[in-house]
Amino acid sequence: MTDAHNSDVTIDSRDASCPGPLMDLIGKVKNLDSGTVVKLQTTERNSTMDVPEWLEEAGHDLVEIEERDDYRSIYLEVN
């Protein structure tokens, strides 16, 4: 299967327990340049709510959420 988007950085947070996908994302985003496209892979249901909410707060752009069979990929662009 091919990806709908090209990403520069992939964060695989599938089955992440602690501290979870959003914390994984925040930890990595800090060190990325503006314009970088990130793909966050997550199995946590809440991610489709809390990731977009944080992106909005922190001023990064949500590009797309792609549903797969057993996980989802959230694409975002760092500002």
């Binding site: 089955d15 602690c18 501290p19 914390m23 930890g27 060190n31 944080w54």
Partner: protein, 380 residues
């Protein structure tokens, strides 16, 4: 001779070395296998002790024991810093500049380093209890802190120990109450995401307790910079918070060794989360805080990972196919004040359940800390 090298004599490296010494006892005694532990610090440091130092319940010296006393005599111990890893040539360079060691299997267990300088103003403006000097300075500051705004801010992501940031405000609340100072101190806890903790059940548990104990919770709080003169924190989200005493969980960084060897970003080793083998090189494993796996940077994780890697390495040393795997098992005690605690247990993808805090669980946490020296020796 089959050479096994372990870099770092902390929780993970020490448990691993002792376990290998016992699993490969015959091979070591017959001169077929060498288990070498190379560690920079002649002392083994048990970091969980630092949480109790600001409250005068433990000293920094309580956290240290000579590593020599903790490792099995079959382990070859080298006290030196590893300065370079060449995964192409299977060699390590040491800081003494003359030694270069060949390995057949290598384990990196170099832990996490604190990097308060990564956030402008944090090193000058904030205290912490994540290392010996910080914990002692905070103890002195807290002793004289009678009124004002105390802020515990989780700045570093990722950071060691999922529990300590939540435990500190609950402990400081109880400690101030015991001294009749609580009414003159406002306590605030800040966390980067939209709830009090990465684990939802811990977040729910902490939120209820914070409310009960009058601890203010600020979420979506990512510290951008600190103004130490004005005593103000600025966040990425565009908010400001004034403080009188700031206690931060500082940013963490892995090891330069890792980045220089091309084994992972920000100093964390990129590994397969089940086999703990490095993805970028052959014959290399990582355990403990330096391994980039989707669970907590906790001593329990380092301990369980050491067990898995010991099995895998011993199998290979005997020419068998390794089959042991790590399922993300994590166990954590959580102090809920000065005399109550609870604990959580989970694996990859699992949400833990937080039990009602109790005094026996607090005593169990203290007991675990005492018996840790036996755990490190591989006796428990």
């Amino acid at each position: 001779m089959h050479r096994i090298a372990i870099v770092g004599g902390g929780t993970g490296g020490t448990v691993l070395a002792n376990q290998l010494a016992s699993e490969l006892q015959t091979e070591i005694e017959d001169g077929e296998v060498e288990v070498r532990l190379i560690t920079a610090d002649p002392n083994h440091v048990y970091k969980p002790t630092f949480l109790y130092v600001p409250f005068g319940k433990k000293t920094v010296d309580d956290a240290k024991r000579p590593i020599e006393e903790l490792v099995d005599r079959r382990v070859t111990l080298t006290i030196d810093e590893v300065t370079d890893v060449s995964t192409d040539r299977n060699r390590l360079s040491l800081a003494d500049r003359t030694t270069s060691l060949r390995y057949d299997q290598l384990v990196l267990a170099t832990g996490a380093n604190l990097e308060p300088e990564a956030v402008p103003g944090l090193a000058e403006g904030a205290h912490h209890f994540y290392g010996p000097d910080g914990a002692e300075r905070l103890r002195d500051e807290l002793a004289d802190f009678t009124e004002g705004h105390l802020v515990l801010s989780v700045v570093g992501v990722p950071h060691m120990c999922p529990a300590a940031p939540v435990e500190f405000p609950l402990m400081v609340d109880a400690w101030l109450r015991e001294r009749g100072r609580r009414e003159d101190v406002k306590i605030t806890y800040t966390y980067p995401i939209n709830r009090a903790h990465g684990l939802e059940s811990v977040a729910d548990w902490a939120t209820d307790l914070f409310e009960e104990r009058d601890i203010t919770l600020e979420t979506f709080f990512n510290v951008d910079e600190v103004d130490p003169d004005a005593e103000v924190i600025q966040t990425v989200e565009g908010n400001e918070l004034e403080y009188d005493l700031l206690v931060a969980i500082p940013p963490h960084r892995g090891s330069d060794l890792v980045t220089d060897a091309g084994l992972g970003e920000d100093g964390w080793v990129d590994v397969d989360r089940h086999t703990l083998e490095a993805t970028a090189a052959e014959d290399v494993y990582a355990i403990g805080d330096v391994a980039d796996v989707p669970t907590s940077k906790a001593g329990s994780v380092a301990h369980y990972e050491a067990g898995v890697v010991a099995d895998r390495i011993a199998s290979r040393a005997r020419g068998e196919t390794p089959t042991a795997t790590y399922d993300g098992k994590t166990v954590c005690f959580l102090e809920a004040g000065m005399d109550e605690a609870t604990f959580i247990e989970f694996t990859y993808g699992e949400e833990p359940y937080v039990r009602e805090p109790s005094k026996p669980l607090h005593l169990a946490k203290l007991g675990y800390n005492e018996s840790y020296w036996l755990t490190a020796r591989g006796l428990l």
